[in-house]
């Protein structure tokens, strides 16, 4: 997030797109509800009539995968109505002229045909956002899990840049991170393109810096993403994998492909709490100590660095991951793994990361620091981009709408979109083993619009078969207005409804993020 969580109660206008926040980030959503109660206007763009849509002042029910068209038309209106912040554009951005020229073609009427949102509502949304003195954007994977995920995010950046809604209280471009430490995993350098602290591996100066720190020259070329690594495993090129704390088989798109990749490896080592579907394919399974059994650091969605602490003894022989990985490294004769505590590891991370340079294990314990904390004595940065962007001037990007990788046709005439539910989390390895959660949500359901239930010959509460070009799953039907006609929703939390057998139609060309939010399917009664 560019802005801290407490800023969520400050905007005049809140624009939530592709974020089912009351279910996926419930505590953050309470701040949105408070802001709305205080009088802030809420715009919600989502294919499904989620709870946020019900409390919105303006709900934009767009067709799955059409965010870029909606956002281009909103920018068109903001520009046409003269709601741009010229002073901000002059001082902080570049490329505005070409951008405004590019926008001319994207009228609300044009967008209506693509995204299904009435042109008048696109106008209203643009006027609300454009006229606000402080407008904030919140988004989640509904924006990024598309073949055009980067385009979508850049479209949001364009809106914020043209109206100067960045770098101030109650504004910003705020992705809500989905997992407790997914931010921290990236911060720590578990990325194919960046060293710790998002320092690009392609910069020779960084290569030299880390060679000095670690005693080994690392490739100047980026590595490959996990998606490509799985492809290369199928092709027989990747031969060995270490997977830590991820149930890849259930969480990743195109399960058949994923299974083939993992089975094709000469060696798969899995570190996990449980013998997950993925761990069952491993050659070596190493038991990790769990949350509540481990001391360590998490960084949350607002870049706040916080300590987690051990409260109970680890289960059986379980050990923390840093110890396990260090042991593997040492047994391979790799130097630099003489860590004796999580504090040693974290302090080394801080010493090599520009973002964490001014924190250490003890300062992390205060929970008071948002990165970047570039030097000792720096107070941290709750709000990004107040004076300058890391790249200097903000760049407007010329985005053109593209259809999803696969679109509905006669064989697969229904849009499937996937996500989480309030009660469960990911593949339910944790929530599925916690007493009571099954009382709230005992099994997976497919949310289908009541008119579709009728016209497709389904029965509310009955079973149906959901099929895509890649596979099929059987799931119980629930008739609900939350799904618009022609679009169905299912989570990926239940092992007996492995919906990711169906997904995997395409990937964003820049990030390799899978288009998990769009998958043409057929729904047949059983």
């Amino acid at each position: 997030m560019s802005n801290p969580l407490r800023d969520m109660e400050k905007p005049d206008v809140i624009f939530c797109i592709g974020t089912n926040m009351t279910e996926c980030h419930p505590v953050a959503a309470t701040r949105i509800k408070k802001a709305v109660h205080r009088g802030a206007k809420l715009i919600v763009a989502d294919p499904r009539k989620i709870t946020l849509a019900e409390i919105a002042d303006l709900y934009l029910p767009l067709t799955v995968g059409t965010d870029a068209a909606l956002l281009a038309a909103m920018a068109h209106v903001v520009h046409r109505e003269g709601l741009i912040d010229q002073a901000f554009i002059d001082a902080r951005t570049e490329g505005s002229e070409a951008f405004f020229e590019h926008l001319q073609q994207f009228t609300p009427r044009w967008a209506e045909d693509i995204c299904g949102v009435p042109a008048a509502d696109i106008e209203r949304a643009a006027l609300l956002y454009g006229r606000a003195s402080a407008a904030a954007i919140y988004y989640t994977l509904g924006v990024t899990e598309h073949i055009c995920g980067v385009d979508n995010v850049q479209s949001l950046c364009n809106l914020a840049l043209m109206t100067g809604n960045i770098g101030r209280e109650g504004t910003g471009i705020n992705p809500m991170r989905g997992q407790n430490n997914i931010q921290g995993a990236g911060d720590s350098g578990a990325l194919p393109n960046n060293y710790p602290g998002f320092q690009p591996v392609t910069d020779p100066a960084n290569q030299a810096k880390f060679e000095r720190a670690w005693g080994r020259k690392v490739d100047l070329e980026k590595g490959i993403t996990k998606v490509r690594a799985l492809d290369q495993a199928v092709a027989g090129k990747i031969k060995g994998m270490l997977i830590c704390g991820e149930n890849t088989l259930l969480s990743d798109p195109d399960r058949a492909h994923c299974e083939k990749a993992l089975k094709n490896l000469e060696q798969l080592v899995v570190i996990d709490l449980f013998l997950t579907e993925t761990a069952q394919l491993a050659d070596v399974v190493l038991p990790a100590s769990a949350w509540a059994e481990t001391d360590g650091v998490f960084t949350n969605t607002e870049r706040r660095i916080q300590r987690v602490r051990q409260a109970v003894k680890p289960r059986g022989q379980a050990r923390p991951e840093w110890w396990i990985v260090s042991q593997i490294a040492r047994r391979m004769g790799i130097s630099g793994f003489d860590f004796e505590s999580p504090k040693d590891v974290f302090n080394e991370l801080c010493s090599v990361s520009t973002l964490y340079h001014g924190v250490d294990w003890d300062r992390a314990a205060t929970g008071a620091y948002h990165w970047p904390v570039p030097y000792d004595g720096h107070p941290g940065t709750p709000r990004l981009h107040e004076d300058e962007f890391p790249i200097g001037r903000g760049k407007f990007k010329l985005i053109t709408y593209r259809d999803p990788a696969e679109t509905i046709d006669e064989s697969y005439p229904v849009w499937l979109t996937t996500g989480r539910r309030l009660q469960h989390y990911h593949t339910a390895t944790m929530t599925g083993r916690s007493v009571g959660i099954d009382y709230l949500l005992p099994e997976e359901i497919l949310e289908v619009n009541p008119t579709d239930v009728q016209s497709w010959g389904l029965k509310d509460g009955g079973l149906c078969r959901l099929s895509s070009a890649r596979g099929s799953v059987d799931v119980r039907v629930k008739a609900t207005d939350r799904s618009p006609p022609g679009t169905v929703f299912c989570s990926f939390s239940f092992g007996d409804v492995p919906v990711n057998k169906l997904t995997g139609s395409g990937y964003d060309p820049t990030t390799d993020t899978a288009e998990l939010k769009v998958c043409p399917v057929r729904v047949d009664p059983l």
């Binding site: 720590s188 590595g223 991820e246 890849t248 769990a290 706040r304 300590r307």
Partner: protein
């Protein structure tokens, strides 16, 4: 940051009031109660929750205000320069004692509530002890009847202990924005309930547990924590961060011995300010679940995963990766770090790939 901090941040005092003989500064909009909290004046409350709009229902926080005919509720009276306030006189203390007796008479077992029931569950008991009252003086009718029909696994609705402070109603509306809890009838017939008097699962309740944690009598109880009532030993708490989404709510882990028995929201947690959701509040049993892996496992010649020692498993893992690297080259091993494990996990994994193989063949699970 709590509300008091928010109000005082970057602000100058607007004046002073005289509190029990001392001139004390206050900030714009503060109530007498909020000012008094900074000076340990120990004014009692029951219906007060720092996060909620002041309610003024319990009248325990009354103080004498010079110029006012009757004592005023300090939680709803905004400080004005020059006010002279007496919070500890015999008269107000006597009044508080009578009020406490009235409340305790509604709640005869009030002093014996297990603290596992909830964060604020001891408040009434502590008050009864402070004023040395038992509740027999006004014994008689009671409001609220325990709901035995609601068999949800999370929230006990033991309204026999209810004192109608409405903290549950207000936290659900003001803090959560869910409006699942409401009040039925008046006087001794008052009953905290849900819309249409349903079970919680039939209502708008999301089982975030906020009502349980703010209940000052334990009338609402954390059923999951209460499973450990019979375990011996004290409750210990450890401050940590929730393991679910990226919001990073601060929690206190409750343990008895080596058993994780429950979760409490941290009122001073910067991301959540006391709020939690159903997962963070109740979905913790996975930690000590029998399905947890006890030992390392390796695949044997028959293709089965069998238990192994750490030495066997680590040697096998290390030898396998070294063999692949030496036989096929540096770009044949790949690692995926977890978005759930701490930084130290991801850092060692990427360092292992970069220093062991000289490649950048590492990612985390954020792309799916």
């Amino acid at each position: 940051m709590n509300r008091t901090d928010d109000k005082t941040e970057n602000k100058q005092p607007v004046g002073t009031i005289n509190l029990d003989g001392a001139e004390v500064p206050f900030y714009y909009g503060e109530t007498i109660y909020q000012v008094s909290q900074r000076y340990q004046s120990n004014i009692p409350t029951l219906c007060y929750d720092d996060r909620l709009e002041a309610f003024g229902g319990c009248r325990l926080c009354i103080v004498e205000l010079e110029g006012a005919r009757n004592p005023v509720a300090s939680c709803t009276t905004v400080a004005v320069p020059g006010m002279v306030v007496r919070s500890k006189t015999k008269a107000v203390e006597k009044h508080r004692k009578v009020l406490t007796e009235l409340v305790v008479s509604e709640n005869p077992r009030g002093a014996k509530i297990d603290p596992l029931r909830g964060l604020a569950s001891q408040e009434l008991g502590e008050l009864a002890a402070r004023y040395q009252v038992k509740g027999d003086r006004f014994a008689g009718k009671q409001s609220g009847t325990t709901n035995t029909a609601d068999d949800n696994p999370f929230i006990l609705r033991d309204y026999d202990h209810c004192i109608s402070c409405y903290r549950c109603v207000r936290v659900c509306a003001e803090q959560e924005g869910d409006f699942a809890i409401s009040v039925m009838n008046r006087g001794f017939a008052t009953q905290i309930t849900t819309e249409f008097n349903q079970t919680l699962s039939e209502s708008a309740c999301t089982f975030c547990g906020q009502c349980v944690q703010t209940c000052p009598t334990g009338a609402l109880g954390d059923r999951k924590a209460m499973r450990a009532e019979s375990l011996p030993g004290p409750i210990e708490t450890t401050r940590s961060i929730c393991p679910y989404c990226g919001v990073g709510c601060s929690v206190d882990l409750m343990t008895k011995g080596d058993k994780l028995v429950g979760i409490r929201p941290a009122m001073d947690g910067p991301a959540n300010e006391g709020a939690l959701c159903v997962k963070g509040q109740y979905a913790f049993d996975f930690v000590q679940h029998p399905d947890r892996l006890d030992t390392p496992m390796v695949r044997n010649d028959a293709g089965q995963l069998v238990a192994a020692s750490w030495d066997q498993a680590l040697d096998r893992a290390a030898a396998g990766f070294a063999r692949i690297r030496d036989k096929y080259g540096r770009h044949r091993v790949y690692a995926v770090a977890s978005g759930r494990a701490p930084h130290e996990s991801a850092y060692t994994i990427q360092k292992w790939i970069r220093t062991g193989f000289g490649s950048n063949y590492v990612d985390n699970c954020s792309r799916a």
